[in-house]
């Protein structure tokens, strides 16, 4: 899984702002990714698969209170990636 070409991106401490310049018809305004969305987005690097991303996040969240289960996390990552693909921001 990788990011689509021509992604304009500005990252601040809290939020990552993303604009797909190759898919402006689908999403003409920047998306604001914060927290989990920013974490998943940062792991879409053209090398990791969705299950790799789930593994990385599970390892990071291992001890966190209220952390999602593996199944929940898999569903969240899948849903988020679906959304990114639909908006032309990521390619499976």
């Amino acid at each position: 899984m990788r990011r689509a070409p021509r992604i304009a991106e500005v990252a601040t401490d809290e939020v990552t702002y993303v604009l797909g310049l190759g898919s402006l018809a689908a999403q003409p305004n920047p998306l604001q990714l914060a927290g989990p969305a920013a974490a998943i987005w940062s792991l879409i690097d053209g090398e990791r698969s969705e299950s790799d991303i789930v593994e990385v996040l599970l390892a990071e969240l291992e001890a966190a209170e209220g952390a999602p289960t593996a199944d929940e996390l898999t569903a969240h990552v899948h849903a988020f990636v679906d959304q990114m693909v639909e908006l032309g921001l990521a390619v499976r």
Partner: protein, 323 residues
């Protein structure tokens, strides 16, 4: 991360982020319609050290004139609309269009030419494009003018609008006090050559004279109406009165009364466009019209000085001389 589904925020876009993304957006949209576009002023000037890095007020992008309308239309399809302007505003600003979008915090100022560059728009654009460099904006490369091009844009910008913004005066000071002394002979010569291609040898003359290179003789008045207009405008402190006086003088006789009247006593529609959110009662509009008239009269002597300087073929040097 919690067990809640991942949410994408729809909070308002911060201004600085919006400006950076808007530069990338405008260049990408231009590229998509096959148009060349250059990011000018803000990030380009900061990149070349011509001003301190700071958040730009908008995204300034110069599009090759032949494809300008295509880029405006393509941005329009993405929700970017021309900002409403007054009749006098349309007469004064002919080099660019300001686009706004409800979803974005900043405007995109799309240029089809640059004030003070009197060569045909396409020739001036080509001259800068042939010397372009790349600058990263929002993680992507956008084209910007090279140092010489950025210097010319900055110099003309400051010379044209000295009285409108003290920042422009500071930027010219920096250009003359920091940038010019650091330029080697080859770069100075390249800037002069570029000024010739841009048709800016006369308009930027007060700055070019500081390069310490011999310049061609100034163009005499009456040869180029645009140069006459520039001289009058700059010497007249760039006020709307100066601009409008020049426009009225230049207009055909049949249009003069209407132009003069719309300048002196703007229509109600123009008032609303020029003062969004201001009171719109009859009294309020009349008070503002009278205030505007008073301001216009106060600026008239400068406008007349500008006309005289223009008729003499003089280009205002006061800013360079620190007056």
């Amino acid at each position: 991360m919690t067990s809640q589904p991942v949410q994408i925020s729809t909070a308002p876009l911060p201004f600085a982020v919006g400006v950076e993304l808007a530069h990338a957006l405008a260049c990408a949209v231009a590229e998509d319609v096959g148009a060349r576009a250059l990011v000018i002023k803000g990030p380009s000037a900061a990149h070349h050290g011509l001003r301190e890095p700071r958040i730009s007020a908008d995204a300034d992008v110069w599009v090759e004139p032949a494809r300008f309308d295509d880029v405006v239309a393509a941005l329009g399809a993405l929700g970017w609309e021309s900002r409403p302007t007054t009749e006098t505003g349309r007469l004064i600003t002919t080099h660019s269009v300001t686009l706004w979008n409800q979803q974005w915090p900043c405007d995109i100022d799309l240029h089809s030419r640059y004030p003070g560059m009197l060569a045909p728009g396409a020739a001036a654009f080509d001259a800068l494009w042939s010397r372009r460099e790349a600058l990263e904006q929002a993680g992507l490369d956008v084209p910007i003018p090279d140092l010489g091009g950025a210097v010319m844009i900055s110099a003309l910008h400051s010379l044209r609008s000295r009285s409108q913004d003290p920042r422009h005066e500071r930027e010219l000071d920096r250009l003359l006090g920091v940038t010019v002394p650091s330029l080697d002979a080859l770069t100075r010569s390249a800037i002069l050559s570029l000024a010739g291609e841009l048709g800016a040898l006369d308009t930027a003359r007060p700055f070019l004279e500081e390069l310490g290179i011999e310049l061609p003789a100034p163009t005499v008045p009456g040869v180029d109406p645009e140069l006459d207009h520039w001289r009058a405008f700059v010497r007249g402190d760039g006020t709307p009165t100066t601009h409008l006086l020049a426009i009225v003088v230049k207009a055909p006789w049949r249009d003069k009364p209407r132009l003069l009247w719309s300048a002196i006593w703007p229509s109600y529609d123009d008032y609303v466009v020029a003062h969004p959110g201001a009171p719109t009662s009859r009294d309020a509009v009349t008070r503002l019209r009278l205030a505007r008239l008073g301001k216009g009269v106060r600026h008239l002597p400068n406008a007349v000085r500008g006309r005289i300087a223009s008729m003499r073929g003089e280009t205002d040097r006061r800013m360079v001389d620190g007056e």
